[in-house]
Symmetry: C2
Subunit: 458 residues, 2 copies
C-alpha cells in the first residue's frame, strides 16, 4: 500500500436536541431527544455510516435547577437525559465499529464501581469503550450526602489518584489468566490474578476487580480540562483531549503546550490526540448557511438571552442595558470555569461585541468554534487547523439533531475523504485500533514480574 | 374473553456457565460465558422466545478471593463477569418484551447514581427494568475505602432509607412535566419538577434527578432477603421476592408469612409476587434425567468438594472424615447468611446425609430446590407449589447454559401452556404490565397537591 497522508479522526459530540441552546425549537429537531433511545440509535448509526471514530456525550450528575429566572428555565431543553454508560452499552449492540466515549466524574463516582462499569462496557462493545475523565466543575454535592464541593486543586489531586487506581483495577487479571480447560478442570491461573491493595490519600481499595482485563487493556482515556492542572493530568494520563478554541493561534498554543508536556512522562506526541470542538452550520451556498445560522439564532427567546447574559455577568446589574449596547467587560467571577472564562472574555474583547452579539455567540456552542459555510468551507476550516499544528481530530457538534449530523456525514465527510484526510473504511475492530493508539501493558503483571526477578537475583 | 386461570410468571435466573458449580466443565457449557456478550444475547433471546417475564442476574461488587485453598479456587469458574445494569442495557436493544432484573447493593452503591442508572435503563428498555435490592451479605468493604462491613441491622436500616430515597428521586418529574411546544418556546412546566430535599439517618440528597420519571413510574422492585428484616423490607417495598425453599411446607410458610405482612403497609397480597428458585435437571425419561444429574455431579473435582464443605464447616476439623462418613452437625457460624444456613441445616438433618451427599446437594443450586425428572415431572413439581400457596412465579436456574434454558423453553414451557398456566403471548409492553403490577403514583406530586390543597383551605 502506498504511504498514506496523516489521517484525521472524527467524533460526534452528541447533545440531545443539538448543540444550539434553542435547537429543540427547530422544525428538524426531535424535541423529546434526551430520553428517546430510537433517536440516539439513529444518530449513532449515522455516525458509524460516516466511519466516525467515536460518539461522545458530556455529563454532570445533577438535574434541573430551580434558579432565579424560572421564565428562562422553562424555555430551556435540559435536565432529563440518559446516563452515558447505560446509553452506550445499549447502542453498542446495534453498531459494530464506532467507539463510545462516556463522561464520568472522579469527584462524585466510586472508583471500584466506575472501573467495573467501564470494563463491562468494553467487553459488551468488544473493545470500543472510552472514559472521558471529568472532575465536575459545578457544585453538585447536594446530591451526594457530602458537606460541599471540593476545591479545584483537591478535585485534580483526587482525579489523579482515581485514574491510577482504576487502571490498577483494570490490571487485576492478566490476559491469559483464564485457562478454562474442561478436561483437567483448571479454570484459572491464580498467579495471573493480582490484588491491587491501593492505599492513597483519598482511597483504600484492595481489588481484584470482578471483570477480566478490558479488551483494550484500558478503555481509551479522554480528558477535557484546559486549566494548568487539567493540561498536566491530560499529559500524564489522557490519550485524547477534547478542547475548545476559537482561533488558530489559541489552538496552536494549546496543542504545542500539551504535546510538549508528554516527554516528562516518557510519552511521545502521538500518544495523545487533540480534538477541538467545531459547531458547523451548513448551507448549499454561503448565503444559505448564513440564513440557516440566523434562523436558529432567531429561536432564542429574549428571556433565555438575558439568562445567558446574567450567568456571565454574575453580580453585574444589567437592567440599564439594552441588547444593542456594547457588552461591558466581564467580571472575574462567573459560573464558568477559568479556561472557559478566558475564551469568552477574549471573544468579547476581540470583536467589540454588543450584548446581543455576545449572547448569540455563546448560544451556539458555549465557546466552541463556530463555522458557518458550505461543506467545502467547513472542510477547509478543519483542514487548516489539522495541517497547522492545531488538531489531530475534531469533535463535530451539530447545531440541530438529527439533521446536523446527517448533513455533515453526507456533505462534509466525502470532501475530507476526497482530500485523503479521512478513512474510507475502519482500520480495526477496537476504538484503540481505529485511533492508532497502542494497547497498554498490564502494570500489575510487570510489577509482579519485576518482584520475581528481584527475588531471583537477591 | 373467557376468564383465565391464574397465570404463572417465569424468570430465567442466569449464571454465566450455569448454576451447577462445575457447569463450566460440561461439554454443552460456554466456558468463557461470564464475559461473552453473544452468549448472553442468545440466552435472553431464548428466554424471550419462551415468553419469560424476566431475566435476572445476581451480583456482588467484589472479585475473586485469594483464599486458603488456591487449589479449589483455580478450579472454580468465578470472578469475571459483566456488571448487571450495563449488561441489561445492552440486551434491551436486541429484545422487545422481556424484563431485566439487575441486582444492585444499597450498602455499597450511591443512591443518586443508582436511581439514575435504573431510570436510564427503564427508558432505554422502554419500561422493562427491575431492581433487585440487596444489602450485600459478604464483607466487600475493602473495595470501598470504608473501615468495615456494616452489621446486618445497619444494612437493613440503610436499605430502607435508600429505597425510599431512590423512589423519591424517580418522582422528580411528573409525567406531564414536559410541554415541548416549539411554537411558544415553552419546554417544561417548572411546577411539575420536584426537589426531594431528603435528609435522613444515612443520606442527604436534594435532587431533582436528571432523568424523567421512569416509564414504569418506578422500575419493578425485587427483593431476596429471607431474614426477619428482609421479609419486613420486602413486605413494605418489594413487588417480587426471589426465595429459596426446599420443601412445600417451608415454601408455604414463607409465602403466607410474607403475604400476611402486606396489610400493615396498606398493600394487598397480589401486589407482591413470590418466586422460588428451581434447579431443573431434565431428561427424556426419569432414568435419563437421573443419569444427566449424576454426570454433572461427577464433574465436581474433590478439591472443590472439600472447599464447599470447609466453607460450611467453618472452624470444624474435617481431616479425619471421608466423603462417605455421615455429615456432622453444622456449626452456627458459617459464611452463609442465617436464612440460608437454616435451609442447609434442615437439608442435612432431614436426609441423614453423608458428606458426599451434602456437598452434592449444595453443588447444584446452593440450597435452591432441585428437581430431576422428565419435562412433565418438572411441570408437575412447579404446578404443585403454584396451586398450593407456595409460589406465584418461579426463577428457573438452568444447571448448564445455554442448553439448560433452551431445553426448559422447548420442553417444559409447552406443557405449562397446555395446562393453561402460562401465557401464549406477552400481555403488555412493560415488565409491570406483564407481571400484572400497577404503575405507582408519583409521591412527590401527591405531596405537592396536598400542600396546595392545605394552603387553599387554610
Amino acid at each position: 500500500m502506498a504511504s498514506q497522508k496523516r489521517q484525521m479522526r472524527l467524533g460526534a459530540f452528541i447533545m440531545a436536541t443539538g448543540h444550539h441552546i434553542a435547537a429543540w425549537r427547530h422544525p428538524d429537531a426531535q424535541a423529546d431527544a434526551g430520553l428517546n433511545i430510537d433517536h440516539y440509535r439513529d444518530l449513532v448509526q449515522t455516525a458509524e455510516r460516516g466511519k466516525f471514530d467515536l460518539v461522545f456525550v458530556a455529563d454532570s450528575p445533577a438535574g434541573w435547577e430551580r434558579a432565579k429566572d424560572p421564565e428562562a428555565l422553562r424555555r430551556t431543553a435540559q435536565g432529563a437525559h440518559f446516563e452515558p454508560v447505560t446509553l452506550w452499552a445499549a447502542l453498542s449492540q446495534v453498531t459494530s465499529r464506532i467507539g463510545f466515549v462516556a463522561t464520568a466524574s472522579t469527584t462524585y463516582e466510586d472508583p471500584y464501581l466506575l472501573a467495573r462499569k467501564f470494563a463491562s462496557l468494553d467487553y459488551i462493545s468488544k473493545g470500543r469503550a472510552a472514559w472521558n475523565v471529568v472532575t465536575t466543575g459545578a457544585d453538585v454535592s447536594k446530591n451526594f450526602s457530602i458537606p460541599g464541593h471540593p476545591a479545584h486543586a483537591d478535585r485534580y489531586a483526587r482525579a489523579e489518584e482515581f485514574v491510577d487506581l482504576v487502571k490498577g483495577l483494570w490490571d487485576s487479571y492478566e490476559d491469559d489468566a483464564f485457562i478454562r480447560d474442561k478436561e483437567s478442570g483448571v479454570y484459572l491461573d491464580p498467579d495471573k490474578v493480582h490484588q491491587l491493595d491501593h492505599k492513597g490519600q483519598f482511597f483504600s481499595v484492595s481489588g481484584p476487580l470482578n471483570v477480566g482485563r478490558p479488551v483494550q487493556g484500558y478503555p481509551v482515556i479522554v480528558q477535557a480540562g484546559a486549566s494548568e492542572a487539567g493540561r498536566e493530568l491530560a499529559a500524564r494520563t489522557a490519550e485524547m483531549i477534547f478542547t475548545a478554541n476559537q482561533t488558530l493561534e489559541d489552538a496552536q498554543e494549546f496543542y504545542s503546550d500539551v504535546k510538549g508536556r508528554l516527554a516528562r512522562y516518557g510519552r511521545s506526541p502521538d500518544e495523545l490526540l487533540i480534538s477541538p470542538g467545531i459547531f458547523p452550520v451548513l448551507g448549499g451556498t454561503e448565503a444559505e448557511a448564513k440564513a440557516n445560522y440566523d434562523y436558529i439564532q432567531s429561536l432564542v427567546h429574549p428571556s433565555v438571552a438575558w439568562n445567558i447574559l446574567s450567568r456571565h455577568y454574575k453580580g453585574v446589574d444589567l437592567s440599564a442595558y439594552s441588547l444593542d449596547d456594547p457588552a461591558p467587560p466581564l467580571p472575574d467571577s462567573t459560573e464558568l470555569n477559568k479556561s472557559r472564562l478566558k475564551l469568552v472574555t477574549d471573544l468579547v474583547s476581540r470583536n467589540n461585541m454588543t450584548l446581543r452579539e455576545f449572547y448569540l455567540a455563546v448560544a451556539t456552542a458555549r465557546g466552541h468554534r463556530t463555522v458557518v459555510g458550505t461543506p467545502e468551507q467547513v472542510a477547509d476550516a478543519m483542514q487548516k487547523w489539522f495541517d497547522n499544528g492545531a488538531a489531530d481530530a475534531f469533535n463535530i457538534m451539530p447545531p440541530i439533531l438529527p439533521t446536523g449530523l446527517t448533513d455533515f456525514v453526507d456533505q462534509v465527510v466525502p470532501i475530507l475523504r476526497k482530500r485523503g484526510l479521512f478513512r474510507e473504511e475502519y482500520e480495526g475492530a477496537t476504538l484503540r485500533e481505529n485511533l492508532g493508539l497502542r494497547r497498554p501493558p498490564n502494570g500489575l503483571a510487570l510489577k509482579a514480574q519485576q518482584g520475581e526477578a528481584a527475588r531471583a537475583a537477591g
